[in-house]
Symmetry: C2
């Protein structure tokens, strides 16, 4: 058995079922091994950013890593932006990256570049294979690193000759590191800090578990504290019957305002909230100056168990979810922000997976969706745009029975639009709703925030008109049926129809 086959067989034995791939020459032996063994589902992306974003979406829903198959420094770099999101969101991803064979590395071949240096900023764990015999063991270490609580991006560099050399040895799984327990002292410190004027900030796995969320809400109720979630999270379980947890807003002034009333913060699998960006006259830290920060659970710790202990200590029980009204279909009318939010929320079916790369538009979708049937909400975790379409693709691979709705800003959609082709090829039930405002709207706000008074050159650089993008044509060019809508009631009907039909669909929502 060659090194490549030993890796594929070992990863599969450990539970790896899917390989998202954009293969190149340096890892042809892995393509061959995947082909001969037929153990994994191989999903082709036409661009590496699709591959890595899909691996992220898959892992968020499957709760375990997929493998990616990438090649050399430029190929990895093409996928790096979405790995950045996975790394920030602590999503388990295992990258297999083909490198030149060891003897070829000494030459300055056209595709040579420093691969280890390239992968490091986008990985939590990096290793370069050294022999065919140890390659599967390296892969198992990487798999464990990716799978350790709360998850991470592991990158294994595979020199080509180690893949094609004979002498591969299947390696047993390496146990991932489980969530570390929280000390009793941390629980009592948290209990002491909670009360009116305090915020319980819960993130990570807590948000993925409705019971833990209800307990967090119960603790807040009992102590008089508020409960919030970080601005961006890999997954939140929400909808009817689940507590609606406010998130720290993205715009700096709204974030400062939302947190201004707290003088204590208790963190559970979350870090102290900081601004996305610095501005000349705004702080970087979002909690008020002097706010006391108590960490109940680090991101590597078991936040759910810590909340259970905290609930015991303060005598809290799970909160009953507020009865949010089931969203209703909007009236006929233009697609302003409220109508857009309502149209989307009212169309969400039971078990929907919502991918959120809205950025500026439809801010109230989440509020409306609090009364929708139970759903999973996946956000952009590292601020790197171009993840929505890939994320939706991967989530649909993980959950073939659940409809996926991607709320997709138009500018961001153009980064990794190629993912639509993969959706068509794999027949995935993904409804992509393009929120077409035809500008980098979010950047106009940022331009004002640095004190600029934008003229035509600046506005032109933030504008997606001239020519207008036709997302329906783009979708059809990749085999995805598409429809343009300009009316709120029609948007609702289009989404509601699409989620009940197999295969992908793109809806270009023309916003006013």
């Amino acid at each position: 058995m060659n090194g490549a086959e030993s890796v594929v067989r070992s990863l599969h034995a450990a539970g790896t079922e899917v390989c998202f791939a954009n293969p190149g020459t340096s890892e042809m032996q892995f393509v061959d091994a995947l082909d001969r063994t037929r153990l994994m589902r191989c999903v082709l992306g036409l661009f590496e950013g699709v591959v890595t974003g899909a691996a992220d979406g898959y892992a968020r829903m499957a709760g375990k890593p997929a493998a990616t198959l990438l090649h050399l420094a430029p190929g990895f770099a093409n996928g790096a932006a979405n790995l950045h999101n996975a790394r920030k969101g602590r999503v388990p991803v295992l990258n297999l990256v083909g490198e030149h064979s060891v003897r070829h590395l000494q030459y300055d071949a056209p595709l040579s570049a420093d691969l280890e240096a390239t992968v490091a900023p986008f990985s939590n764990w990096v290793k370069t294979g050294t022999s065919a015999a140890t390659l599967a063991r390296d892969a198992m270490e990487g798999w464990a690193a990716a799978s350790s609580h709360p998850g991470g991006v592991a990158t294994l560099i595979l020199p080509a000759d180690l893949g094609w050399n004979e002498g591969g040895v299947i390696a047993p799984p390496v146990a991932p590191t489980p969530a570390a327990a929280v000390a009793d002292e941390a629980v009592s410190r948290a209990a002491e800090a909670l009360g009116p004027g305090a915020v319980l900030l819960v993130g990570g796995t807590v948000l993925e578990d409705p019971a833990a969320l209800a307990l967090a809400a119960g603790i807040a109720e009992k102590t008089g504290a508020a409960v919030m979630a970080p601005g961006a999270n890999r997954r939140i379980e929400m909808g009817a019957g689940r507590p609606a947890i406010a998130r720290v807003p993205y715009p700096i002034d709204m974030a400062l305002e939302a947190l201004s009333r707290f003088d204590r913060a208790v963190l559970v699998e979350a870090v102290e909230p900081v601004a996305f960006f610095a501005y000349p006259d705004r702080p970087s830290v979002l909690l008020p100056e002097g706010c006391r920060v108590v960490t109940l659970a680090e991101r590597t710790q078991d936040g759910k168990a810590a909340l259970a202990a905290l609930a015991d200590l303060v005598g809290a029980t799970p909160a009953r979810a507020a009865d949010a009204p089931r969203p209703t279909a909007p009236q006929v009318g233009p697609l302003n922000d409220a109508a857009l939010s309502q149209a989307i929320a009212a169309a969400l079916p039971e078990g929907a997976i919502v991918v959120d790369e809205r950025l500026t538009r439809g801010r109230d979708v989440g509020t409306f969706a609090a009364g929708a049937p139970p759903l999973s909400w996946l956000a952009i975790t590292g601020g790197s745009i171009g993840i929505g379409i890939p994320l939706a693709t991967g989530a649909a691979i993980a959950c073939p029975d659940r409809p996926v709705i991607d709320l997709q800003a138009d500018g961001s959609a153009m980064y990794t639009l190629q993912g639509l082709w993969t959706q068509a090829r794999e027949g995935l039930n993904v409804t992509t709703v393009i929120l077409a405002n035809r500008s980098y709207e979010i950047l106009k706000g940022e331009l004002l925030r640095v004190g600029a008074n934008p003229g035509p050159t600046a506005l032109d650089m933030l504008d997606l008109r001239r020519p207008d993008l036709d997302f329906c044509a783009l979708a059809r060019g990749m085999g995805v049926p598409a429809q343009r809508v300009e009316d709120a009631a029609e948007l609702h009907r289009a989404i509601a129809a699409s989620v009940h039909e197999p295969g992908p669909m793109l809806i270009e929502a023309m916003l006013v």
Copy 2:
């Protein structure tokens, strides 16, 4: 004046006329400075890979760097693959990369990552600004680094606050390092080595100068040596009246065969040719074992002056170009490889700029084009696919009066297809000819070369069908008119018509 404005004004004074941009928040102050000063042409790309590839194409034709405006580690990574090509091709590019403000770097903000580590593998020169007062001086250093012979990728990291802080000081240009002179001894060693059984391998600026090419060909004639060029070069001047120089082929066996008859090689602004990839049973070095290699001029040296000195020493004069026949329009018939090559070559008008991201198809276009009117030929220099559309975009910005024809493999086109939108927005006379074979054909060859016997999974991962891509729909979605052709005579007519009309056009050539 703030730091950003001092950079823009200094760069413009040094001759920087164009800024290719995909702006994000961290460099909003640069957008503002570009807006207020109106000194540079700002060209928006909808993805960073478009921006960097366009800067490459611009510089290859303008002979000087454009600026790029990029943001943070994930944004830079999105543009890294095409910077890899520029770095390998030694093309002058100056990247301005926005970073978080200095005080914000201490926090793990969502978009924080190690930016210096990210840019290093794709840059010949890297610096991070430290104050508003010195930012323009840093930019001038970067401009000089990019412009020094033979060119390079310079990356200046700009913390946001240095851009918005007052105290910017306009800096005078820093002189680029010119090509270093070659020692007399190197010339005599080269003269001694040349003769039958020797190859004169000329690259870099030699290929950009028809007179230098003619001299190289004359030296070869006089001494009985062969003359060749590396496999991929940033620019070759070719066509009628210019010597046709054979290039080292891409496929390993063809490359080994082409070089097998040489026992001496003389290098002029070229490095010893190595294989793109290593294979289990093939050498990495392409020259035969024992072949003596003499360097007349390193890439940093003045190859043209060295050739002039060498010609004096051996008594050579410029060669007369062979009278290659002017290519004629093909007959009606299917688009096989010969008909494709002929159709393209026959349609090339005077002054055409040909961008070559063909990969496997149309191998004889270059041979046919030897008799076409004089033209410039731009190839993919670092093996990283997805450069054709951006490269064509940048070349057209640099040379508004010359038609650009991009010979574009279909799989590669999908990496940076967004560049079509920029072509439409800027009204560029670019004809994109999609060579639609609907597969990663080049990888099928590579799979066989590692000894695989591909089954359905492997073939599926190298296949672009299911669903078929409709490049005409994709082009129209970005405002570019498009036409599908299946006949050789029709392809010739379509290209010939498009190059004489303003604005972009995409022709999807359905290959058999």
